[in-house]
């Protein structure tokens, strides 16, 4: 450090000149926010000082007026005086790598939603201006979601979730086309929202074929064609798998369905807003999506239903959503979904490139630093943000919990499977033995993920794996 450092407890924040990046440090009795730290920061408001872990020079910053020593931070740390309310320290130092489970709500989305909580809270079905103001928000959002998919606005039904959309697609088509047939084709690796609904329909008398997948988790379009009968009314194949990231050949599958006069539904919960989708080109008849997977709020999803396809009312009552889903609309949620969709449409390419680069570095880094680990899912046709692996000799849940203690959020198997000891049905369907499948780890990056966070993950993960392997020295399968 050079000259003229003014150090003291100043409410307005101090600038310390010798930092090439212009660090500002304010002495806050209640704590500080340090921006460029990927993880492992402990910030205490104790007079005894704070340790900031990721600094090579071992900085100690104490909230005393008696002086601070700051090491050179090339990455431009800002320690700001936050009068408006501090972010809690646990959020500051955590690394979030579980975007397949959920994504943070973008600030622009929050901004778009707020007026519909504060002022425009009318019921969209009311005829007065309070109602039509809210209706406007809903219809504008409908347009954005439709654009994202290459659909018409009146082909979009807002639902409470992607799961609800999945349920409705299967149950609705099954009911509406019952006189045509009772056979449904799906795959073994669908999300439980599809599989459990299919099992429910089987109990109601439908016949369901669960198509196998190859070792990369891919559905062969030929197997769809082979499974079709005169009795088939619906094929439902997810656009990309949430656990292993494999992207399915939905264009080909859609074409086969169109040729045979069978409806095609795809669960696009992991892909809407991330991979380009054109429902007309891909011959998609129904599609499910979920707001909280594309940086929107939880509690809202959408179902695309191509014009002309029959779908009976699923929630009965007030006739909202063209009579197909009654209940007063979740206006703020829908507005949030619309804004998230609008933003995603413009950023898909850059987001994919950003995510894929981080994902690839993460995968290469892990394969390099950890022995007996394998990538699961298609190595090429996979979601740009998905790094799913199986680690021999370590248990997925333990990996997850240990990484959690290091401030890193990841997943083992799917979010739904966390907490259960069963190996993932997806991995088993791909032919991965159960004991290997138990060591599964799913790391999914997002638009806010930084290279520093990946570096931190690559530092921490091998150590965690080693520790777990030493603790439970079973020979890896």
């Amino acid at each position: 450090m050079e000259t003229k450092v003014a150090v003291g407890a100043q409410p307005s924040g101090m600038r310390i000149g010798a930092q090439p990046s212009g660090m500002r440090i304010g002495a806050q009795p209640s704590g500080m926010r340090i921006g460029a730290q990927p993880s492992g920061m402990r910030i205490g408001a104790q007079p005894s000082g704070m340790r900031i872990g990721a600094l090579p020079s071992g900085m100690r910053i104490g909230a005393q007026p008696s002086g601070m020593r700051i090491g050179a931070q090339p990455s431009g740390m800002r320690i700001g005086a936050q009068p408006s309310g501090m972010r809690r320290s646990w959020r500051m130092k955590r690394i979030y790598l579980d975007h397949a489970a959920t994504t943070p709500v973008r600030p622009e989305v929050v901004e778009a939603m707020l007026p519909y909580l504060r002022e425009r809270w009318g019921n969209p079905s009311s005829l007065h201006a309070d109602g039509s103001t809210a209706l406007e928000g809903v219809e504008r959002a409908r347009g954005h979601v439709a654009s994202l998919l290459g659909a018409q606005p009146d082909e979009i039904i807002f639902t409470g979730s992607g799961t609800e959309a999945d349920n409705r697609a299967l149950i609705g088509v099954s009911a509406a086309y019952a006189e045509k047939g009772r056979h449904i084709i799906t795959s073994m690796i669908e999300h439980h929202a599809i599989l459990d609904t299919a099992k429910f329909l089987e109990r109601m008398g439908a016949r369901v074929t669960y198509l196998p997948v190859d070792s990369a988790g891919r559905v062969d379009p030929a197997s769809v064609r082979e499974a079709m009968t005169e009795d088939t009314v619906l094929v439902s194949i997810m656009h990309a798998n949430n656990e292993v990231g494999t992207v399915q050949p939905i264009d080909e599958i859609g074409a086969i369905c169109r040729e045979r006069g069978v409806l095609f539904h795809t669960d696009a919960v992991q892909t809407a807003g991330h991979l380009p989708i054109n429902v007309r080109e891909a011959h998609i008849d129904l599609l499910s999506l979920s707001a909280h997977k594309l940086y929107g709020p939880k509690g809202v999803g959408a179902l695309f239903v191509r014009k002309g396809r029959r779908l009976p009312s699923f929630v009965h009552g007030g006739g909202q959503e063209r009579g197909r889903r009654a209940s007063t609309e979740n206006v703020p949620g829908i507005v949030g979904l619309g804004e998230a969709a609008r933003l995603a449409a413009g950023e898909m390419e850059s987001e994919s490139a950003h995510n894929a680069a981080l994902r690839d570095r993460l995968i290469a880094g892990l394969l390099d630093r950890v022995s007996e680990v394998r990538l699961t899912g298609d190595p090429v046709r996979r979601l740009p943000n998905n790094a799913s692996l199986c680690v021999a000799g370590a248990e997925g849940e333990s990996l997850l919990l240990n990484l959690d203690l290091e401030g890193i959020s990841v997943s083992s198997g799917s979010a739904c499977a966390s907490g259960s000891l069963e190996p993932s049905h997806v991995l088993l369907a791909m032919g991965i033995p159960a004991d290997v499948a138990r060591g599964s780890l799913r790391v999914t990056v997002g638009r806010d993920t930084t290279p520093e966070e990946i570096s931190r993950f690559l530092e921490v993960c091998p150590t965690v794996v080693d520790r777990l392997r030493k603790m439970a020295p079973l020979s890896p399968a």
């Binding site: 005829l127 109602g131 039509s132 209706l135 406007e136 219809e139 504008r140 347009g143």
Partner: protein, 67 residues
Amino acid sequence: MRGTACPLNWVKTKLQLEEMSAGAVLEVLVDDGSPARNVPRSVCMEGHLLLETSVVSDGVRLLIEKR
């Protein structure tokens, strides 16, 4: 907007106008009756210019200039 009830007919018209640049003209067909009264009123309240209203075979035709 034929067959579309109030206020959805106005809401959709308004959203369409939002996408247009000032000075552009939008042609809207609405049903006779309440829509033909309500939509023009909303157009003017919103500050756009109603250039023309004419009765056609299947409803009422409105020409709206975006302001």
